[in-house]
């Protein structure tokens, strides 16, 4: 035993420095997560494999980043959030509070968001927005469709995984939620194919963290754009992201911090509702085929 017993503790550098260091630590842990690494690899591969310039339907390719970066990213952050649960008797009495730890975890979502950004750039490289595969949408709306399908789910999925990890004990919760969301999006997309002009069906289709806006079903030459505003849909998605962060932060929050989070959550829910209504009522009033 050669160590000294002299107190070595410096002045505690609380606050931002600790939060930044913790966020960096969690980010490193997330980056080496096998599920996330697999998600990044498979996303890159699907974009590369779907590079055929003659593609007439962007949906087949644009949904993969959402599935892998968003869905698998959700499972990876869920695992990351739960990973210290066994050590909670020790971690729970550390000066860094649970909401601060949650905030550090939320910072991790920058990584899948950046991957989503790269995936979007790759997608645009192989499928320029000027192409016919985007249907009758304007240039800006085409960008909005892709950002809402590729980038925002890459952010939202991991944030949802953190919220889930903070509140749900069941270890398979993230996988279950992934299946539920996948099933829901599939169901409402099928309904939309059957009832392309239906306003209620459009509402159901957009009531999800991911939505398709075009289809070529039944006719490979023409692209049909569905009802709904892609820009407001991004707003709805981002509001859902904010809600996920606030719900995650609420766990363990006390006193004034808790009140602030609850107030912000109420605002977020109102905002989400407004943006959802705008997304459902905006855009084309009916399905348009180009």
């Amino acid at each position: 035993m050669t160590a000294t017993l002299a107190p070595a503790r410096p002045e505690a550098t609380a606050g931002r420095a600790t939060l930044a260091a913790l966020a960096a630590r969690e980010t490193r842990r997330f980056i080496v997560n096998p599920v996330f690494l697999f998600a990044v690899a498979i996303t890159a591969w699907t974009i590369w494999a779907g590079r055929d310039p003659a593609v007439t339907d962007i949906d087949t390719v644009s949904s993969y980043p959402a599935i892998f970066l968003g869905g698998f990213g959700m499972m990876a952050t869920f695992w990351l959030t739960r990973s210290m649960r066994a050590s909670e008797p020790v971690v729970g009495v550390a000066p860094v509070t649970l909401p601060a730890r949650t905030a550090a975890l939320c910072a991790v979502a920058i990584v899948p968001l950046a991957c989503g950004g790269l995936a979007l750039l790759g997608f645009l490289h192989f499928h320029p927005v000027s192409g016919p595969a985007y249907g009758p949408f304007s240039m800006s709306a085409r960008i909005a469709v892709l950002a809402g399908q590729i980038m925002v789910p890459a952010l939202g999925g991991p944030l949802l995984g953190i919220a889930l990890g903070r509140w749900v004990r069941f270890p398979g919760a993230a996988f279950m939620l992934f299946l539920i969301l996948y099933g829901w999006v599939t169901l409402v997309t099928i309904l939309s194919l059957w009832h392309q002009d239906s306003a209620p069906v459009a509402v159901l289709r957009l009531f999800a963290p991911f939505a398709f806006f075009t289809t070529t079903a039944g006719n490979t030459a023409d692209v049909t754009a569905w009802r709904g505003s892609p820009w407001f849909f991004i707003g709805w998605q981002l509001a859902l992201c904010a809600i996920a962060v606030l719900v995650a932060l609420l766990r363990g929050a006390e006193g004034r911090v808790r009140l602030r989070i609850i107030r912000a959550l109420a605002i977020g829910l109102m905002l989400a509702l407004i943006l959802f209504v705008l997304a459902a009522t905006g855009g084309f009033p009916h399905a348009v085929t180009a």
């Binding site: 050669t2 505690a12 550098t13 420095a17 600790t18 009495v93 000066p95 860094v96």
Partner: protein
């Protein structure tokens, strides 16, 4: 300089209909205090109250003059606290160094060089300096216990709460741990719960015996041991008059009891004898003493 102190006033904790701790009054200062008691006596609950892991359902707890029920004050306590819980799990894939380093980060050691030096220091204290790179899952039970202990020693805390720190730890390491704790206890409040009476005898100036959530004894270790003087004897057969008897390595029986017959062969009592005597109810026959009601 503020003297490290802990105060409990009528502190209690219930879990549903079960009372784990009932109206405990205690004042603890620098030094090592041992907590003894049977399973379910309330030792872990008391330590969790002191470690701010659990709020009391009645009474008051003050640690270093701060109220753990006030969030800002609780954080203030936690900045000066080291806590080793009875049971702790470790995250998958972590090495000993990475785990202690992670906890150091949660204890606000943001500066990497100082943090790493501190992690190395505490791993060295528990004799794990060579095993820092080893995955915790691949370690033995005793080594894991030492990893858990290392995180509690981070920053030489002013209040150190240890719940069965020597479980699974080999004798050599237990001696090392005693040296470490004795040094820390010069300025810090160290409270440890254990079933190993020899650890309490070797390390603690003060012992608290809990039973069914109440303080049964609170006083000096030597005083408790002294209470068993003349009540421990050896015999060739188990003595029916004894509260407890067991066969020793010599083949003779060690008897502990309040009712001692004449002419028996008395031996020097240990803390364990005194504890067993207390548990056996013999102390209730005492005319006066430190046995709490």
């Amino acid at each position: 300089m503020v003297t490290a102190s802990i105060g409990l006033r009528e502190a209690g904790r219930t879990f549903g209909a079960t009372t784990a701790l009932a109206g405990v009054d205690l004042d603890l200062g620098p030094g090592v205090t041992g907590l003894l008691g049977p399973n379910g006596a309330g030792k872990t609950t008391l330590l969790r109250l002191l470690a701010t892991a659990l709020p009391p359902t009645q009474g008051q707890v003050r640690v270093l003059g701060l109220d753990p029920e006030v969030p800002a004050e609780r954080t203030g306590i936690r900045r000066q606290l080291g806590y080793l819980p009875q049971e702790i799990g470790f995250p998958r894939g972590f090495t000993a160094f990475a785990f202690v380093d992670y906890i150091a980060l949660l204890k606000e050691w943001a500066e990497p060089a100082a943090r790493h030096a501190e992690v190395r220091r505490v791993l060295d204290l528990v004799g794990l300096s060579d095993l820092g790179a080893k995955r915790i899952r691949a370690m033995s039970g005793g080594q894991r216990r030492r990893v858990a202990l290392a995180q509690a020693l981070l920053g030489s805390p002013t209040v150190l709460i240890l719940d069965e720190p020597t479980t699974g730890v080999d004798p050599e390491q237990r001696v090392t741990l005693r040296i470490v704790l004795a040094e820390i206890a010069r300025t810090s409040v160290v409270v440890l719960s254990t079933h190993q009476t020899e650890d309490v005898a070797a390390l603690c100036e003060r012992v608290i015996v809990l039973d069914r959530g109440r303080v049964r004894y609170d006083g000096a270790v030597t005083d408790l041991t002294g209470r068993a003087a003349g009540r421990v004897w050896l015999a060739d057969e188990p003595d029916p008059a004894a509260s407890v008897s067991w066969r020793t390595g010599t083949g003779r029986y060690r008897n502990v009891g309040a009712r001692v017959r004449d002419g028996v062969e008395h031996v020097e009592p240990s803390l364990e004898d005194a504890y067993l005597l207390l548990r056996g109810g013999a102390a209730e026959h005492e005319p006066a003493g430190e046995v709490a009601s």
